[in-house]
């Protein structure tokens, strides 16, 4: 059977170039970068080369990159680290974020509420886009942190980060963006975006799982999450995952260099997928913004059917998709992102996220379009809600 992976938003396969670079490290550079002997010094050099590469990819200085164990950890250091640092300095306890953040941001903000911080959750419009003005309106003298994701992992909508960054230039609040979904897919430059902190994860760009990075603008200080040795300027102690870090560097370097052509190609495929599904399958609806969206993301609601049975049915045909973020697939709640955009429970439940990748071909897209039509028809035939709807129309 054909296998079509359309879940690149959840994670991506590793590039061969990344595997090769990592295996070289595994075989030849096993030293601890903190050791002063030749094995250590050689590892240290690899570490700093990787740091320079990652920095370059986002227009930062190498000194501004902190490697972490995941995108989640980068987000947590950014948010908890800023809040706790500012609290220590007595700078205020107000935080601004949105209702559609990834759990690594949203739930961290909720934890801070329990610790005595006050959080404003800004709503988004029906396309999942935040109004710059709403940030302006929510800003207070005691706002210490604004954390807004660059693009959403479920619906792909891209936020006006650069405009918000400009706005915040006149305010002391630290500005963090979760760019886990955008690095390597959209142009990401920390100065153009005018952010102070920015989170990256390697496994979304054909790199290894378990490696992330946090951009920390010069002059910005954060409290560490964990304590130990002096690695990563004490912000992230632990013996460095050198192979993983090199894997991230190779992956980001390749992704950025191919970005222009690849994102155009993905957009073409994505738009075909969206257009054909919306026209060929009745009672469907695109979630997220039609234009300001990630080049590889299609999120569509199929009314009157339930997401899990849709995903399982597609899986039987070899097509891997998801209904939201993978990390909440254990939960039965409908996506908080779709609910925040005003979808009703039922529509939110019947939504599908298809995220394309570098190996996705036009044939794949054609196959998915064809199979989905059959599957949706079959599931609707089984659905009492569909039956009711048809009768109401008759």
């Amino acid at each position: 059977m054909r296998k079509i992976y359309l879940d690149h938003g959840a994670t991506t396969p590793m590039r061969n170039e990344v595997i090769d670079a990592m295996v070289t490290i595994y075989r030849e550079e096993f030293g601890n970068p903190s050791s002063i002997h030749q094995f250590g010094r050689s590892a240290k050099k690899q570490l700093e080369d990787a740091r320079a590469k990652v920095a370059k990819a986002i227009g930062a200085d190498a000194k501004e990159i902190i490697f972490t164990g995941s995108g989640t950890e980068a987000d947590n250091i950014a948010i908890l680290g800023t809040a706790r640092m500012k609290a220590k300095q007595g700078k205020g306890k107000h935080i601004i974020t949105t209702t559609i953040e990834h759990h690594a941001v949203l739930d961290t903000c909720k934890l801070l509420e329990k610790e005595g911080f006050e959080v404003t959750y800004l709503p988004v419009d029906e396309h999942g886009i935040l109004a710059v003005q709403s940030v302006q309106d929510a800003l207070r003298d005691d706002t210490i942190l604004v954390t807004i994701m660059h693009a959403n992992n479920e619906i792909g909508s891209v936020q006006p980060i650069a405009e918000i960054g400009q706005l915040l230039k006149n305010h002391p609040a630290v500005f963090h963006t979760d760019a886990v979904q955008t690095v390597g897919k959209l142009a990401v430059d920390v100065n153009e975006l005018a952010v102070d902190l920015l989170a990256i994860s390697a496994h979304k760009i054909y790199g290894p799982k378990g490696v992330g990075a946090l951009y920390v603008r010069k002059g910005i200080r954060v409290e560490p999450l964990m304590i130990g040795g002096g690695q990563e300027r004490k912000i992230r102690p632990s013996t460095e995952n050198l192979a993983g870090i090199v894997g991230l560097a190779v992956a980001i370097d390749l992704a950025v260099s191919e970005l222009a052509t690849e994102s155009k190609r993905l957009e073409g495929l994505r738009d075909k997928l969206i257009h054909e599904l919306l026209t060929k399958v009745p009672e469907t609806k695109l979630n997220g913004h039609p234009v300001h969206r990630l080049p590889h993301n299609a999120n569509i609601s199929f009314e009157y059917i339930e997401g899990e049975s849709l995903i399982l049915s597609m899986d039987m045909k070899g097509i891997a998709v998801s209904s939201g973020s993978a990390c909440t697939s254990g939960s039965l709640d409908p996506s908080h992102v779709l609910m925040a955009m005003g979808l009703c429970h039922q529509t939110a439940h019947g939504s599908l996220r298809m995220t394309l990748g570098k190996d996705t071909t036009e044939e794949d897209i054609d196959y998915v379009i064809a199979e989905l039509q059959t599957i949706v028809a079959r599931l609707r035939e089984m659905s009492p809600v569909w039956e009711q709807y048809i009768k109401s129309k008759a």
């Binding site: 010094r41 000194k63 002096g230 300027r233």
Partner: protein, 148 residues
């Protein structure tokens, strides 16, 4: 972390040893990091450093800066030696890691201590006093913030 020059002077330190009939001897130590340097000078009547030898108990940077300082002062006058700073010694080695800058202070102070000894022994009018040797503790502060 060390430059080639540092490693060269560490591996092949110049002027190691003692001068039994030295005209001046300086010894300084920094118990915080446990380093000690002893410097022996042979000085001509018109105040030129004719010969120099050292012994150092210390890290790679301490040994390399000791060695380099002996090269820098050999053949110089006492007055010229007074102007030698730890940063000049570090520079001559193509630099030291920031956490290791204080090690070069050891060499500067050993030299000052020797010159003070020379002043005491000869009664010559050399512009140096105990004050200059107070060993301004700032240099020895061990900075653990790895801010580079």
């Amino acid at each position: 972390m060390y430059t080639e020059k540092v490693m060269d002077h560490f591996t092949n330190p110049r002027n190691v040893g003692e001068i039994p009939d030295a005209d001046a001897v300086g010894e300084v130590g920094n118990m915080k990091c446990g380093d000690i340097m002893k410097l022996y000078l042979k000085i001509t009547d018109d105040g030129v450093i004719e010969d120099v030898k050292f012994k150092t108990f210390g890290c790679g940077a301490a040994i390399a800066t000791s060695s380099m300082s002996t090269e820098l002062i050999k053949g110089k006058t006492v007055e010229e030696c007074l102007k030698l700073t730890n940063s000049a010694i570090a520079e001559a080695l193509d630099g030291l890691p920031p956490v290791k800058m204080h090690c070069s202070v050891l060499a500067e102070e050993a030299l000052k201590s020797a010159l003070l000894d020379y002043k005491k022994r000869t009664g010559k009018d050399i512009p140096i006093s105990e004050e200059d040797l107070k060993g301004d503790d700032d240099h020895h502060d061990h900075d653990h913030d790895c801010e580079e």
